[in-house]
Amino acid sequence: MSGTFVGMPAFPKAAHEAVHDRTLRGNLRHATHTIRGKRAKAVAELADWAELREAGKRIKDHTLRHLDRYLVQLEESVTAAGGTVHWAADADEANRIVADLVKETGESEVVKVKSMATQEIGLNEALEAEGIRAYETDLAELIVQLGKDRPSHILVPAIHRNRGEIREIFAREMSEWGRPAPDGLTDTPAELAEAARLHLREKFLRAKVGVSGANFMVAETGTLVVVESEGNGRMCLTLPETLISVVGIEKIVPTWQDLEVFLQTLPRSSTAERMNPYTSTWTGTTDEDGPRHFHLVLLDNGRTDTLADEVGRQALRCIRCSACLNVCPVYERAGGHAYGSVYPGPIGAILSPQLRGTASEIDASLPYASSLCGACYEVCPVAIDIPEVLVHLRERVVEGGPVTRAGNKVVLQPAKGHAAERAAMRAARWAFSRPGVLRTGQRLASRTRRIHPRTLPGPGRAWSGTRDLPPVPAEPFRDWWQRTQNAKGGAE
């Protein structure tokens, strides 16, 4: 994945800083609560939601199970329709392919539709290094790009900004990138949207190269689908002469009919709409309508490693709706930046450590960025059991074990930081299997309870820093049982 987040502190530290930012917490609370209620209403309109969810899950599972076959079929269909297919095993390969394609056109700027895949690979930075300027055209991405900021939400990357902050960024930065913000710009959302329209229009009208991702790719027809709201997607997909789409290999569905499931579940889960304002579908190139050249870059970048994990592979069902972020109590308080990845929230906590591995501090800590309350699983339109994968990944971090990295099977060492916990568990196992030892230990604990410290010393300090130590009763349970029950038995 991208180097953007290299060196991020572990989740607990990043989150600790974020929860003390009152503005951030207010912004997140307002936005997530707004969308939660709306989503619930939009979902309740469909009596067959459970059946749609199950069908979506099965379509994705079936596709993943036969992914090699569908990738080859997709390549054939796209090629037959006039497109060119490229394969990129990692971020560097994908960035190289896109940069070379842009250079072939002789252009030095591109307009971009919001795309998680291109953020994941750090495409903008890679193009910048080659002298190519990439303009983000989604409103929230524009806010992030102008503010020299990082995205904090899958659907609404600038969710951490309120309208006042957005006004300030537009007024200050737009002139650096092109048409300045109108004089006297206020913070009403309609005026801010108008400012973005004016600023970006000159870029759309002169653009020769567009870069996009895709929400779905249909193997049987070679059709790509982009679901959006603002029309910036349509601009990038239809006005340029060359279109380059970078899409994760897990975005395939087998048939055209499969879209009937996801075009019902995605908009309602995502923006809580019956249907998003614009959905574009295209199959290769069309004579005299839209781009004359179409390139599809199929991206692996850790996806096949994720596919190799029997429990974790269900994360590849994700359709990036972000419903799990909006309901998550941890995300609501910590915000997206603390997750140190373009994929924040519950889905990010299971996707990032699988796509990137758990070698870094941030990735090893992500499976713990959850209270396991399960709200994410409840709302997931493709039924990803996020808590199950979180627990599985925690075990991986603590115990180590076999994983696949860059296509190779390797064995992870157990995490060092958990040595004290493992020692404590070993001691517990030893004591619990020896009744005499356990009894002596419990009695000792009861008798000394007045002098127990309130926090643990040494390696236990971190544990007791956020928890109260359980009070030890005056008498062990077994002693109490023998004293009271035996006495009763005697009376009868």
């Binding site: 329209r197 249909v218 574009s280 839209g290």
Partner: protein, 213 residues
């Protein structure tokens, strides 16, 4: 080794634990979701379309074939439009009453030229009642995708009840995936500022749908 071979090899190794399964796709996925939601008469479906279009801020008008030229002329006059883009196969009658300069949808036009046109009038391929959606497929009466994108005012004519289906599954069955499709549900909008919906960003900020039948 090429990227292609490397990725396909990785996929096959990743799936080594999965037992072989040759169940045909039609049987692998149970589709017990509904083909449409609720029972309605034909008129009821058209009413639902009108209601849902309006819910997402499209302006809905209803008329019959005889009244259509007058309605379109009225909408263009009210807007103060003097130039109007028309796809090559649009029924000439539709604009017969409008006092405007017609601009043809041509491959040579630059985006900047389209940006100077006031309005665009098109037909559609299908409309979806449950979601309040109109779908364009680039047929001669709908034109290239960009003509309904760059101008700020789009008038779309839907022939009711023939072109109206109740649900997304029914719409997909009527559409040809080989054609470039644009599904439109209300004017362009964004939820990017505090997750609250605001209408009007890059696409036409005014969408008027005329139901003719």
């Amino acid at each position: 080794m090429s990227g292609r071979e490397r990725i396909l090899g990785r996929v096959r190794r990743a799936l080594a634990d999965v037992p072989r399964d040759d169940t045909p796709y039609e049987r692998a996925v149970v589709r017990d979701y509904l083909p449409e939601h609720g029972e309605r008469t034909v008129d009821g479906t058209v009413d639902l379309l009108a209601e849902n279009l309006a819910d997402y801020r499209a302006v809905v008008h209803r008329t019959d074939a005889d009244g259509l030229p007058g309605v379109i002329a009225g909408l263009l006059a009210a807007r103060g439009a003097s130039t109007v883009l028309v796809p090559p196969g649009l029924d000439e009658e539709w604009l017969a009453a409008a006092e405007v300069t017609l601009v043809a949808d041509r491959a040579e036009s630059t985006p900047a030229e389209l940006d100077r046109v006031d309005s665009v009038v098109t037909a559609c391929a299908v409309a979806v009642a449950e979601t309040g959606t109109i779908v364009l497929d680039g047929s001669p009466d709908q034109g290239r995708r960009r003509i309904t994108l760059v101008p700020d005012h789009h008038i779309c004519v839907v022939r009711v009840p023939d072109q109206v289906v109740s649900s997304v599954p029914k719409a997909l069955r009527r559409l040809d995936p080989a054609r470039p499709l644009t599904w439109i549900s209300g004017p362009s909008a964004t939820s990017d500022i505090e997750l609250d919906r605001v209408e009007g960003v890059h696409g036409p900020r005014t969408l008027e749908v005329v139901l003719v039948g």
